[in-house]
């Protein structure tokens, strides 16, 4: 009996260990493959060269254009998702009735359940033509359209995490504010949101991390032209798009050209790892404590 219990516990622990193996696998795999790359391309060049043209005759291996494309689409996404998500969170939490909230929240969650390849189609066939009517100079592939749609995708993430933060603010704080004659809006803006600011920050950090790692929307709608620019109207390429472009193309395995995807991959991994851990650390450190 006792042995059987121990065996079961060992099996369960082994299963939990698979998640550690996965992390280890990712880190070792990226490090080993990227090492091939960095034996031929110095890290300094990789980080400072302003061109990324590994597949052309004149090869340049500067990651900056891909990073710029990633940050640009992410920036647009956050510019859409943060104000909208925060307003929704404040509205649902401070203004709306419980019944309204219970209907709307699951509906908003549907936005997060739509596969990203479907959002890509939406960006390319609906949002881009629509934006082109407003801004005729805009290219068919651009960061603005892809980023805005990505913003809609991460909207439920921002709104529900921010709402959790707002809900955690004790009622007494609100009532004290009302007692001083403040309106709902004044209470929300001057009392509740500041009190929940760390939770809201965490929601933004996690949303950034999600947008940085998102692949299909940008692969479909933002283009595949690495370009060091802050102009959201021209085609760019993100790190994720580049990885998909090369790995699903016909670049031969084992060549320097192929190893670039692991160099790009490790850059992406480090970016999201840092963001996630800053978010995690922020949540631990600044968790509001009210008695």
């Amino acid at each position: 009996m006792k042995q059987r219990e121990r065996l079961i516990e060992a099996l369960l622990a082994l299963s939990a260990g698979i998640s550690v193996l996965t992390t280890g696998g990712i880190i070792v795999m990226l490090a080993v493959e990227a090492a091939h790359f960095f034996r031929q391309v110095p890290l300094g060049t990789f980080l400072t060269d302003t061109q990324w043209t590994p597949l052309f005759a004149d090869k340049h291996f500067g990651i900056l254009p891909l990073v710029a494309g990633t940050l640009l689409t992410t920036g647009v996404a956050i510019a859409v998702a943060l104000p909208l998500g925060l307003i929704i969170a404040i509205y649902l939490n401070e203004y709306a009735t419980v019944g309204f909230r219970n209907v709307i929240k699951p509906l908003l969650e549907v936005l997060a359940a739509v596969p990203t390849v479907v959002y890509g189609f939406f960006a390319l066939t609906v949002v881009t033509p629509f934006l082109q009517r407003l801004i005729p100079s805009m290219a068919g592939f651009n960061a603005l359209s892809a980023g805005s749609v990505m913003g809609i995708m991460i909207l439920p993430l921002v709104s529900s995490l921010s709402e959790d933060a707002l809900t955690a603010v004790p009622r007494a704080l609100r009532e004290a504010s009302y007692a001083l004659g403040a309106t709902r809006l004044q209470t929300a803006m001057r009392v509740v949101v500041p009190a929940a600011s760390s939770g809201i920050t965490v929601s933004v950090i996690l949303a950034i991390s999600r947008a940085v790692g998102e692949t299909m929307i940008v692969a479909i709608a933002a283009g595949q032209e690495p370009r060091l620019t802050a102009n959201p109207l021209v085609p760019v390429e993100t790190i994720t798009t580049y990885i998909v472009q090369v790995s699903s193309g016909d670049v031969a395995y084992g060549t320097l050209e192929y190893d670039t995807i692991f160099a790009a991959g490790i850059t992406l991994f480090i970016l999201t790892l840092v963001l996630n851990n800053v978010g995690y650390w922020f949540r631990q450190k600044f968790r509001e404590q009210y008695e």
Binding site: V110, A113, I243, Y280
Partner: protein, 284 residues
């Protein structure tokens, strides 16, 4: 205008803006679904569902891609569910407060935030190349299983945590061992939450495109997989392929395939919500 009237006006204005913002999200969802239906519904018929892929848009169908998606869904579930459940049970019922479990905790939080293309790179190196599975159903299922593992573990833990402590104590008092308590009391009581988590995780796996592309899964596979080691295509990959083509006719195909994919993911999500509500009513 007095301060008070101004503040009241601002307050009313924000109420309107808030309602508008909330509705904007839903409105976009509606526009988008209607557009997909308008574009794709005309193309969606039996021929489209049962035809093999083709380079002529009006002859092409999603038969092999649809079967491929069903294959990876089943196989991913078979691989990921036992491991995810076991890991969740271990973390919640056994490994508390040790340094090992603190490490596991941070690790799982981090894994949940790793972009899906990175899982694709991992699968490419480990399953496709090192274990020589090729771009097979098995390689894709193993990769997607790793991808949804953190979701499964978190869902299992939450479901188990909701089981009241008294249930465990009653079982221990009757002389049951730890595992007997888990197997006969805790798991049955938390089944609703666990099932919901499994279904949501699978719906995520079904829609994943990027890792499959990285693994080298092709859009044009003229046969349905017969074994886990066969090459295959999947709906999202087929959709991506059709979207990337310049001809208008392929975009109708893409929209029609999207309708099928959305039916699957929304169906799974609906099922999950239904199960959650049903079980919630059953618990004391």
């Amino acid at each position: 205008m007095s301060n008070m009237t101004r503040n009241r006006l601002l307050d009313g204005a924000f109420r309107a803006v808030g309602l508008l913002a909330t509705m904007l999200g839903l409105l976009l969802l509606a526009v988008f679904l209607l557009d997909i239906l308008r574009t794709g519904l005309g193309r969606l018929n039996w021929q489209f569902l049962s035809a093999l892929p083709s380079r002529f848009p009006e002859r092409a169908g999603i038969y092999t891609a649809l079967l491929g998606t069903v294959w990876i869904m089943v196989l991913t579930a078979l691989i990921a569910v036992p491991v995810g459940l076991a890991a969740g049970v271990y973390l919640e019922e056994y490994g508390r407060k040790s340094r090992w479990s603190a490490l596991l905790e941070i690790n799982i939080t981090n894994l949940a935030g790793v972009p899906s293309v990175i899982y694709g790179l991992l699968g490419l190196n480990i399953f496709v190349r090192f274990l020589r599975m090729g771009s097979s159903v098995l390689a894709a299922s193993c990769t997607l299983a790793l991808l949804i593992l953190p979701i499964l573990i978190v869902a299992t833990r939450e479901a188990i945590r909701a089981v009241p402590k008294t249930l465990r104590e009653a079982s221990f008092a009757l002389g049951a061992t730890r595992w007997q308590t888990i197997w006969y009391q805790v798991l049955p009581a938390s089944m609703g939450g666990i099932l919901t988590g499994i279904i949501l995780a699978l719906s995520r796996a079904v829609g994943e495109t990027a890792p499959l592309l990285v693994l080298g899964v092709l859009a044009y596979v003229p046969f349905a997989p017969k074994s886990p080691l066969d090459e295959f295509s999947a709906l999202p990959v087929q959709i991506f392929n059709w979207i990337s083509r310049p001809q208008q006719a392929f975009s109708f195909n893409a929209a029609a395939a999207i309708i099928v994919l959305l039916l699957i993911t929304f169906g799974l999500n609906g099922l999950a919500i239904f199960l959650r509500n049903r079980w919630r009513r059953h618990l004391p």
